[in-house]
Amino acid sequence: MLMLLEQVLNGLQYSALLFLLSAGLTLVFGIMNVINLTHGSFYMVGAFCAAAAAAKTGSFLAAILAALVGAGLYGLVVELLVIRHLYRREHLDQVLATLGLALFTNALVTVLFGRSPPMMSTPAILAGSVQVLPGLAYPVMRLALIGAGVLVAVGLWWLISRTRVGMLVRAGADDGEMVDALGIDIQRLFTLVFALGAVLCGFAGVMAAPLLAVEIGMGERILITTFVVIVVGGVGSVRGALVGSLLIGMTDALGRAFIPSLTSMMLPPQLSDPLSSSLVSASIYILMAIVLLFKPRGLVPARH
């Protein structure tokens, strides 16, 4: 029972990370109709900046600041130079251009930060574990990540449904030309949304850095999962990102925990081991394929 709860918490933690990444990605895709493969790179840039700042100053606050500023600034530059030329292009063009950018970013980060990946240790205030339930101690850092996810979800909800900017974002998603005709600078709106997405990635990077390995290629790995999340949840809707993150995060964590024992019950070890490891890794893709076959637009698509 406690084991199950621990796995659930693991799932929630992964879901939180995925939500931080997918919220920005779904907004960019939903509002600007741009597939952005550089999204993972912002996450990586955030993590690297955070690790470097933490190593230099020892302060977690500095690390957060570095991550947000680093990722946000880089996102801004990318938008100004490349993304704004892709708004009217086909998806294939967007995929390839942003892929080129992502590969470039990998090389750039390698050059700037060196080959040996920086480590970021858990900051003191978030170190250690806490007794979630009698008998179940769970690391504070992971709980903090879950908390960060909840915070961002609430913040985004407030931003989108309660502020003027959020209203413009929703309007822009529905009818960009109309917003344009009303005299509102749609370009500025897009840049804002894009930068917001990048900043969220940076935040994800600094929160994940103490927990996961900070290395080149960390962006791409989670980027694919992030795309799976928004496709399953429904492109363009933050609610869809939430639903998708929870579904994917829990499937991955619970699958990781329980598939091996399930397969070993049914098959001899030399068959069950490779099968279970393949199933575990492939589980979220199988889920996505099933969802797409019945609900091609995702579970909670934005009205378009």
Binding site: F29, H91, L92, F104, P274, S277, M288
Partner: protein
Amino acid sequence: MSRKLLVNAIGLLLFALVPAIAAATGKSFLVSLCTQFAIYALAAVSLDLIMGYGAMVSFGHAAFFALGGYTVGIIGFHMGQGDTILGWAGSSSALVVWPLAVAVSALAGLAIGFLSLRTTGVQFIMITLAFGQMLYFILVGLVIYGGDDGLPIDARNTLPDINLGSPTTFYYTCLALMALWIGLCRRIVHSPFGMALRGIKQNVRRSVGLGYAPLRYRLTAFAISAAGAGLAGALWANYALFVSPDMASWQKSGELMAMVILGGLGSIFGPVAGVAVYLGLEQAATAFTEHWMLILGPVLVLVVLFGKRGIYGWLTGSKHHD
């Protein structure tokens, strides 16, 4: 048309002369590099069939490349063990193994295509990516065939009277197969089937209104494209004498897509030029720095933003394709 013909002829001539050039200049790696080129060109042209002519962006096409390669690898593995494969003793003849690799890939293409083509747009991109990733993880999980470490292959497949062990002979074989496949794709593109496929790409509403069933055409093109990628994979397995799950990775799919667009989408010879540019850039850039993506990344971005016709379109001065 004649400028196109000239460019193609010169290109083919140059490639036919590579072994001679290599021997003369003592740069034997040229033959190896050009063998890679021929194999990738075969794969890229296959991908262009569906991307450029069918408007299907398959982000998991490397899966078929891997299937072709692993067909060769697995057959070789079991023969080396003295095993049988489902009762069959196996074969080392290219005339058996290579068509088998093509068939396996084509069948997989039919299955994956049938499921994926229920979606369009970004969902299609993602679901093909998903299938590619699934295969990747299956291959990683198949520890018996090396898993993550990959599977070495003892020897190349054999052809009667032709020594595929010799780099030059193998190169010419790959070049010939590439040329044959390109010729075949060219015929397909100009055939009634090809016109229908291109029509569906330009205006699906009109095609349906005329009575065309889009799925039939797209699925057939997808399967043919998969078959070509499978053949390329089988050739790669013979070239490198090694296969690994990376052959199915999304990075490999991205590489193939980049090669196609560098050369120019929707022209049969374009991807060939694209592969040449890609491999050439890799060679040139790695001479300067190990971070060759610092150069290729921006090049790719620039080509996408400004050079829609690609290198081939620029060379031949054509604004639109066949």
